[in-house]
Assembly symmetry: C2
Homo-oligomer: 327 residues x 2
Amino acid sequence: MHVLVTGAAGMIGKKLVGRLVKDAALNGKSIDRLTLTDVAAATAPAGSSCKVEAAISDLSAPGEAAKVVALRPDVIFHLAGVVSGEAETDFEKGYRVNLDGTRELFQAIRKTGDGYRPKLVFTSSIAVFGAPFPDMIPDDYHLTPLTSYGTQKAIGEILLADHSRRGFLDGVGLRLPTICVRPGKPNKAASGFFSGIIREPLAGETAVLPVAETVRHTHASPRSAVGFLIHAAGLTRDQLGPRINLSMPGVSCTVAEQLAALKRVAGEKVASRIRRETDPLVERIVAGWPERFEARRAQALGFRAETSFEEIIRIHIEDELQGRIAA
Amino acid sequence: MHVLVTGAAGMIGKKLVGRLVKDAALNGKSIDRLTLTDVAAATAPAGSSCKVEAAISDLSAPGEAAKVVALRPDVIFHLAGVVSGEAETDFEKGYRVNLDGTRELFQAIRKTGDGYRPKLVFTSSIAVFGAPFPDMIPDDYHLTPLTSYGTQKAIGEILLADHSRRGFLDGVGLRLPTICVRPGKPNKAASGFFSGIIREPLAGETAVLPVAETVRHTHASPRSAVGFLIHAAGLTRDQLGPRINLSMPGVSCTVAEQLAALKRVAGEKVASRIRRETDPLVERIVAGWPERFEARRAQALGFRAETSFEEIIRIHIEDELQGRIAA
């Protein structure tokens, strides 16, 4: 089996590639080839038992999508994209990368015209939903994004569904909740602080909290996100039915509950490393995001996330900090 | 005031232009200039008191959208598009005209960069909704189109909302129910028969019914459609709030109820001019369409349609047949 990962140099991309190399199989078939693309250099992990090739590629550039599609991957994990904060500040770049890049990929697949029909797992986002909301967002809730990022993801979902319906590809879209705790440096995602307020204190540094502690949000760990992607690749069209875009499960909690969990797991001193400093842009973006959703279909289809925010913190300490907390 | 109508040579376009010329005003301001574009020649109606210019223009062609935007219309009625049947049989044409044409128009407006911010009334469709449905579709129901046409309209809605939110234009999208009775020749819309089974018998001809009489659907007259467009142009952003795409009201009835209304209005002989001949493509497309919806927000905002299918038939006889029925 040949697997393509776009956006392979990103945080989720790297973890997914690591898992694929470790498993050396997907959907019960061994992986003999792995192609990684990104606008930045993606590195092939050490110890791979299969052929791994990494290429710098911008899918929105003419001919680039056709080049990767010419390799005829059996499964495509399409993770490439610019994050919410950047899509909001750079309108043209957001549309070019998140909309045109995705459309070019789908079009290159359609244009093969030889019956090629890959499984395509698309990473969407809860940002496709926009306020005002009911308390709990049902699976069949309206798409009314309030950011350009959410707009681009919503369009990607609808395009994916139409290309699947027409038989050009076999798609499944996953609305990821905020992935937390995101390791490494802060990125330009407006949701970045949800991770920062856990990651930095655990590393002995002070984190900025740009919103009120009453803000409620839904989270899943990077480990869960990779699990969602792998699980999605194994779902059949019959299992999915006509609605192939799914809200993923997660832990819904307030910022105050996040900080209380941090205190329980790591102690008072760690949990005190927070500086409150309101950021109006982040506040405005986050205010338009959903707080919690049912994810009934995803759960019925076997997708699983954590059940508490403490569990999310412990996974971060285990996967990223080798069990060590900066006291 | 300068008004632009795209798709001005189409059925609704022509009727809208007729109404604008007759009213000689919009939103209480007199119209001094009217620009009409279409891929086919749009004709300026006789007796206009304002300057009327018609141009053949394909908005999806390079530079065309910028040309019409350079004229700085104050209000744009964006009706241009290919219909559902054609968008389904010609995948590339549907995406080019309905998606790229719309995006080019929005982009040309955004790129003016001089504070130009027209009112833009976008004609969407109930085809943005796809089965399975609840009995009555609420205003905040999921967008899950089951046709390429519905996909393109849904994308247009979401793009319109993002461009409005970012302040590039002042948009409002109207999900039109099926417009019935459509005058003139049948077009390639899969919904065409809903009109045909009324129009042809009234004109002394036999119409083909390609679906079962139990099929339920929602209709509004061409006169109502024009009324929706004019009313929408007068709504403010405050009235609309963040959700600027609205399901329009209409008359929900079955094909059997349509035929019974025809019999009541025009007699048994007229109503018997129906030949039943199943068309699987039409059946499949129509099966994915919504049957009825709440349209609560539209009604609260003052949009009005007919209240019975008999009224819809009488409007057709009045507006198109000068009161005469072929006995």
